[in-house]
Subunit: 263 residues, 2 copies
């Protein structure tokens, strides 16, 4: 099936496809207008500390739903969904090392696992497009901006770079994303990549868009927090077990983006 | 000292006064432009569940800061302050019963206590006034709107009623408060009190403004979530220990309201 056809799918239809193993690719452009989310799963023992960490770092880690221990159904944003099977691909970390990249996590599931859904900026792209803002997604980078540490959770913030065409469009993008703190909210940085420790925007360390032509003089670099951040944190925190989505392979919720906007 | 003089105080000056026992009254109108907050303290054992509860009920319970267990200093909003002494009055609940109403909680402090600061709508009143919105605070009521329950935490939402003069001003108040989800955000209800279980707005069960003249035809009733809600929850949850502020006797933070606004 083509990605453009999937834009018209309802979230439940798309998640069923994923559950049946019929889609294991990225989710950008899928289920137009619906909130997509990052995933971070930790044992209950660490859940409060991780919640505190997310709370102190709302731009990379905006919590939009979280589950009771052992319950795989996100109560607010998709109660019919199953967090164990409904994402196209996962990463499993043990003691700070990546040990598996499965397409479901049924074999890893335990009664003490708490799932955090963190809003993804794919979500506000529907609103950027609706405002006819021209932009290009360039990549995802490890910045030199540090998260506010909480207990064992510490590390750098991952950022997403978009080049936005024209200053009026960049200002509008600030406004639109500010309305949506649930999906990363306002930008973390505008302009000079070196100021946040990025030496070469054409060489992203975390995710690189395949066809990137050079920046033009009228393009403004705008950086948002990215929900890959918990994966950087997982590497440093060395939890016995932490499960995340595989970058770009998001969980599609039942909530429309405009209904998570603040105003 | 008069309340009007205290409007000009810096939060640190006012908190010092409270700490010395020189102010045990309510805090409305004090430290102009600064965020005031409700307080809810629970043992670490219940902190994750309570966090989850607040997370699911952001309108009555918007968490604006929370502490590591045993640490009485709110790291984000007032690191120099001490949660044990800097509020004018507290309520101590044991096993679901109110057992004390002290002016400090030093005798109750333990190494496992986690403090939640929840934004207070006193904060956005500075912005309503700046916009020359005419309104009257009438009272705080137990509504029939139920919180989304989480584990042992369940119960009704407490609401604050303001009568706002004119429909344009009511619309502007919706806009202004929507910018500030950290201090209860958008209204929960507009209009008919009976629709949310309030039979008589002139007889508030939780807090009643002393001089309330009858509603005039051009006044619109607008209801916001209220941070007294955790006190209603405490009664039902029967935790071994839960400490809250005494209604209206808030914690004054170092953060200016405009700096907690979303945009």
């Amino acid at each position: 099936m083509e990605r453009t056809e999937l834009a018209k799918f309802k979230p439940e239809e798309f998640r069923s496809m994923v559950r049946r193993g019929e889609w294991t690719d990225t989710t950008g452009g899928i289920c137009a207008g619906y909130v997509q989310s990052n995933l971070a799963i930790v044992p209950k023992e660490y859940a409060f500390e991780f919640m505190l960490f997310c709370y102190r770092n709302p731009q990379p880690c905006p919590v939009i739903d979280l589950t009771e221990p052992g319950n795989p159904h996100p109560p607010l944003l998709a109660p019919e969904a199953d967090i164990r099977t409904d994402l196209p691909r996962y990463k499993v970390f043990k003691d700070g090392a990546l040990v598996d990249e499965p397409t479901d996590i049924k074999n890893y599931w335990r009664d003490d696992l708490v799932s955090f859904l963190l809003g993804c900026s794919y979500s506000f792209e529907w609103s950027l497009s609706a405002a006819r803002i021209e932009y290009r997604l360039i990549g995802v980078y490890t910045s030199n901006i540090q998260c506010l540490p909480v207990g064992r959770f510490a590390g750098p913030i991952a950022v997403t770079l978009r080049l936005i065409k024209g200053t009026a469009a960049a200002v509008r993008a600030v406004q639109i994303s500010s309305r949506m703190p649930a999906v990363h909210g306002k930008p973390l940085h505008i302009g000079n990549p070196e100021a946040i420790g990025i030496n070469d925007i054409y060489n992203a360390d975390l995710f690189h868009h395949p066809d990137v032509s050079p920046q033009t003089p009228d393009e403004i670099p705008v950086y948002w927090g990215c929900g890959i951040t918990p994966q950087l944190i997982a590497l440093q925190a060395k939890l016995p077990l932490m499960i995340t989505h595989w970058g770009g392979h998001m969980f599609v919720t039942d909530r429309q983006v405009e209904n998570l906007a603040i105003l």
